[in-house]
């Protein structure tokens, strides 16, 4: 739970809420074609994820947020660039929405999806 104060009391933001923001922004990021479950055995990655916290891990220590993303990337794109773009977008969106600094976004590329082999 991340906690903030206002003049009437406290505001709590759950890890799940942070994960939802991260997940939405990751899926809109170019080159990312899916999130992968972080615990399932390899190969069971799901391309469309219903659970917003699947594929996203959020750690919050009261001051800083660390986010781990488990993603699937489109084959034929430059993986390093896609990964750093998704990290940038997620960090920016979460910081913009919550006003809490994100100090780490770790990107784990769990697989590639091949739509066109050429």
């Amino acid at each position: 739970m991340s906690e903030r104060n206002n003049q009437f009391g406290n505001i709590y933001v759950s890890h799940r809420a942070i994960a939802t923001i991260a997940c939405q922004s990751a899926l809109e990021s170019y080159g990312v074609v899916g999130l992968a479950a972080k615990n399932l055995a390899e190969g069971l990655a799901q391309v469309l994820v219903k659970d917003p916290s699947l594929g996203v891990d959020v750690h919050y220590d009261g001051q800083m947020i660390q986010i781990d993303l488990y993603i699937i990337i489109e084959y034929g794109t430059r993986i390093t660039t896609v990964s750093s773009s998704v990290a940038d977008s997620v960090a920016y969106q979460v910081e913009k929405s919550l006003g809490i600094p994100v100090n780490h976004v770790n990107v784990h590329v769990r697989g590639l999806r091949i739509s066109n082999a050429d």
Binding site: L27, E28, Y30, G31, E74, T77, T81, D88
Partner: protein, 561 residues
Amino acid sequence: MSTKKKTTPDLVELTSKPCTTLDGQGFKTLIEAAMTWVKTNQQTINALNVFPVPDGDTGTNMLLTMQAAYNEIASSGENNVGKIAHAVAQGALMGARGNSGVILSQIWRGFARGLDSLDTLNAQVFATALDESRATAYKGVVRPVEGTILTVIKDVSIAAKKITAETEDLIEILEHIVTAADESVQHTPELLPILKQAGVVDSGGKGLFFLLEGMLRHLKGLPLETPTATVLPLASMKLDEAMEGVEPGQDYEVVIDFRPNEPLNLEKYYEGLGEIGTSIQVGEGDGMYRMHIHVPTEKRYEPIEYTLKLGTITKVAMENLLAQMEEQQGKNDQKINLAALESGHIAVVAVSPGKGISRIFASLGVAAIVEGGQTMNPSTEEILHAFENLHTDKVIILPNNKNIILAAQNAATLTVKKVAVIPSSTVPQGLSAMLRLVGDADFDHVVSEMNEAIHEVETGEVTIATRTVEINGVDVKSGEVIALLNGKLVNAEPTLEEACEKLLKSAKTEDRERITIFYGNNISKNEVNKIVDDIRLIYPNHEFELHDGGQPHYQFIFMIE
């Protein structure tokens, strides 16, 4: 830039007769034209960048991607248009920078697939290829966001299909497509609310428009090196970021709102302003114009007098940039946050020559920073003081300069704590060692890991020689730019560019993967960008990181991994 100035006589000929097919070499000149036109309009594209992250680099990213693409074919004599397109796609893929670059690489990939291995490109093939571009681009994302470059390539492919049913002439087709791209770009704020809020059109979409327009301009024989004087929408003038590019001779920022008496001749207006100052921007809305310029102190009233001749001035704002810069720097100075050290964990003390470098060390988790470096060596006491009060008895010191190693070793003997000095003689060595830190691991193990790590990077340093001398067989004249590789003098050149390029060559950079560049406090951001762009061109497939190191003396420190 390696692009040669294009002379146009051979193209004038093209315009007189309809052009219906293109071979590999013809297509190559189109790619070069597209790249040149994006380069010319790079800053315009950058200024529009608000989505997904407003970091103002879309134009630069698209240009670097196009440069990498063109590099693949620059020296190719291939006549098969399909092969050229595949090489372009390959280059774009390897050199893709940023979001827009990745999308652009997908567009080329689709385009190449559409051309397959055809010898020549004609209207029909062009339409098919653009449709493949659209399909491939859309496949790369789960939730395509409309109102971006994706929307523009979609509209372009639809327009291409329609027009190719009517004519075979590629110039006519491109003309139609460029118009469609322009309309699509103008429509992006209606699809993406964040663009509307910011009062801009989509930057990536605009970049794609420039790519296509560059091709068209080339076919029509229009110049590609000078930007058409552009009027930005008022809201997209980034006046609050004026601080970014401030340099000596740009002491004042002047913003003038005015209503011209006669329709404004923009080219001429720009020309007149160009003689007074730099960073010129002109915006328009409802017949009202806003002009923005940076000028030296003694010329601060000239833009006003000049504009007065053209119309009625309604408002003038003038700010002293130098004073603001100093204030801003004062703020930046306080912002280094060191990570809290867990009691009993290994603490690292790093010696850092500049604010920017300190910030990077802080982000890697050093427990204390001592300021110092070339010609400002910290004393043994200063180093001792930095770690004496830390809640741990295990300390590692990174001196990051060979003249400081001794002071650090002395400090180690004056304490009861267990201290190891890693003999890092440059900042990159220190950073490399820092990456091996595991706070709660075995002390000796971490120390030996770090000792290994410092040999895994090459360090390049560039500075100006203060005296005439001969070292290592290199003749150096005072005032020349000298380059040091791992502390050894390797060359002396008249310019920074040459020194940097030769240095990277001596460091066998082509066998490495990543170049991190820290620029000093004695070089302007514009100069840095120019040099770094040149280097990127030489090593299109390397990863680059650019940081404001803030170190004195050294214009550049390179970390080559």
